[in-house]
Amino acid sequence: MTRITLENLGRDFGEFTALANMDLTIADGEFVALLGPSGCGKSTTMNMIAGMLEPSHGEIRFDGRNMNGVPMAKRGVGFVFQNYAIFTHMSVRDNLAYGLKAQGVGRAEIARRVGEIAELLQLSPLLDRRAAGLSVNILQRLAIGRSAVVEPSIFLMDEPLSNVDAAFRAVMRSELKGLQRQFKQTMVYVTHDQLEAMTMADRIAVMDHGKLLQVGTPLEVYNHPADTFVARFIGAPGMNLLPGRVTGGDGAPVIDLGAAGHSGALRLEQTGDILFGFRPEEVVPDANGPLAMQVTAAERIGPRIILHLAAGDHRAKVVLDGETPAPQQGETFRFSVPERSVRLFDAQTERAL
């Protein structure tokens, strides 16, 4: 229920720049995932939104109101920590009631709201248990409940699913999304797991080395990565990037991919060195295809087959569905990449062309 604006936001720790000049606007009620490898600045950004960390420069605004210097208690944010930060010396009920008590909410109102949230998160039978002995999965729900019960206008989650087991993670992914729709809060979700970001977020902000690289819907980020980092990071496996050189010039440019062959007939103004990108899933096996690489390994993962390909210095991965007759290790795999699936990147700047 709050619009968050980050303007030229940055944070240094001594010589180290954790976050450099971030601009981002998160709409009211939007679910934004900050996605990136560890150390990319996503948690730093989140901690500054929460008020646990003061920015070195730049501004954070909630609904246009500058929040710099506003203590975290006054920001109206809910925060779910990666390690849950449950008060183990208290019962589940007291944990849930804690924020409401701190705000001076009346006793009857506390009981009602705690009851509601416990019902919603299936914690009702556990209300009088001490939090110390609970399982990780329950602690996780409790952590969400404790933040949600005060009905913050902004919900911040720092890798809340990284400690739970895989099966429960899948359940929580859909539950979290459902909860957020129900509460209609603005949600900022930090994760290094692209699957979580892709399945839950309205928009994904991909970050690396303290820089915001791209913001977009999951499909935009997947289909049109702004640079090679995003291209490699999103998707499993990530996008293939083969170094190549544009030759042929006027009218009929051809991309020379060295040992892998060549690809042509692209609308292209660029000349010189480029990176030829394509998704492993969008390759078409084609006995007369212009590209050919050696199969170095073939993995079967459920219904899919992942081929590891090599040609000279080029490496690529290709995902085929199980129906396709797959080439064996050592054989040559000929294929083509549909023109609409080709993404080109500048070899120097690594930005999309």
């Binding site: 929460a50 008020g51 646990m52 203590p71 975290m72 208690a73 006054k74 944010v77 809910g78 925060f79 920590f81 990666q82 390690n83 849950y84 930060a85 449950i86 008060f87 183990t88 010396h89 804690y98 924020g99 701190a102 705000q103 939090a131 110390a132 990780v136 602690l139 404790r146 933040s147 005060v150 400690n163």
Partner: protein, 286 residues
């Protein structure tokens, strides 16, 4: 299989040896405390492990009921020294734990006090005697000699580094997120400290306090230097249990030693649950 059996034998033999070394003097003291004078004064072949005629005479003696066999009368009874030890050690522990916990929290959370950890340790760098002489002069000047509070104050100061370092380690181990979570929910720093941090640190506080208390309780040197008559503590009083006629009053000493062992043992049992539970916080370790 054989190797592990011989290893087990060796292991238990080693454990028994160490147990014997540490427990035999204690058992001897307990036995001695209940022996009549003839038995604890005996030597050589007449010594027995257990008292032949168990008696509470030694206890009666140190509390002033002169036993028939001991002609010596005590100048002071054990009641006052026990009170002195209890007061000085307890309040000394309070001072050390209060100041130490506050300092440790500040340093652990906010990094205040830069060189404080090392500065605190330097008190322990010197031989105790080197520190105690100046302290004696200061205490005399302040009129704190032979008072229980003067003794409590120096106990608090001397054991402060232990309280500080123990608590700092515990605070460092407690995930900050737990406090942040409470802060985000709208609690003041103070409230978080009192309602979240301290309750969660209860096991740490209990074990540190016990450690500090035992240090204070067993001190001899400081009490010897800073008390003279009214507020001598148990260890100092114990040293005085001798006479020119009878020599060392071993039975009386043993009885007093047994009494002195009671408070730490009771405290240990009382907080045992906290000690073994260790520190489990509501957060996962990374």
């Amino acid at each position: 299989m054989n190797r592990s059996l011989s290893f087990d034998i060796f292991r238990y033999a080693a454990i028994l040896t160490f147990l014997a070394i540490s427990l035999i003097p204690t058992v001897w003291m307990i036995s001695m405390a209940f022996k009549p004078i003839a038995e604890w004064q005996a030597s050589g072949a007449d010594l027995t492990w257990w008292p032949n005629n168990p008696t509470l005479d030694n206890f009666r003696f140190i509390f002033g009921e002169s036993g028939s066999e001991l002609i010596v009368a005590l100048e002071r009874t054990a009641g006052r020294p026990i009170l002195a030890s209890l007061l000085a050690a307890s309040f000394g522990t309070l001072i050390a734990m209060g100041a130490g916990t506050a300092a440790a929290y500040g340093l652990s959370r906010f990094g205040y006090g830069g060189n404080l950890p090392l500065a605190l340790i330097q008190l322990r760098l010197f031989p105790p005697m080197a520190v105690m002489i100046p302290v004696m002069i200061m205490w005399a000047f302040l009129g704190l000699i032979d008072t229980w509070y003067g003794l409590a104050l120096i106990y608090g100061i001397v054991t402060l580094p232990f309280a500080f370092w123990l608590m700092k380690t515990f605070f460092d181990d407690m995930p900050r997120e737990i406090e942040d979570a409470a802060l985000v929910e709208g609690c003041s720093r103070w409230r978080v400290f009192l309602r979240i941090t301290l309750p969660m640190m209860r096991p740490a506080l209990a074990s540190s306090a016990l450690f500090v208390f035992i240090l204070n309780w067993s001190d001899y040197l400081i009490a010897l230097l800073l008390t003279t008559r009214d507020w001598v503590t148990i260890p100092v009083y114990m040293a005085s249990l001798s006479s020119s006629m009878t020599g060392q009053l071993y039975g009386a000493k043993a009885a007093l030693g047994l009494i002195a062992a009671v408070p730490p043992v009771i405290m240990g049992i009382a907080i045992q649950k906290q000690l073994v539970r260790g520190l489990t916080f509501g957060a996962l370790k990374e």
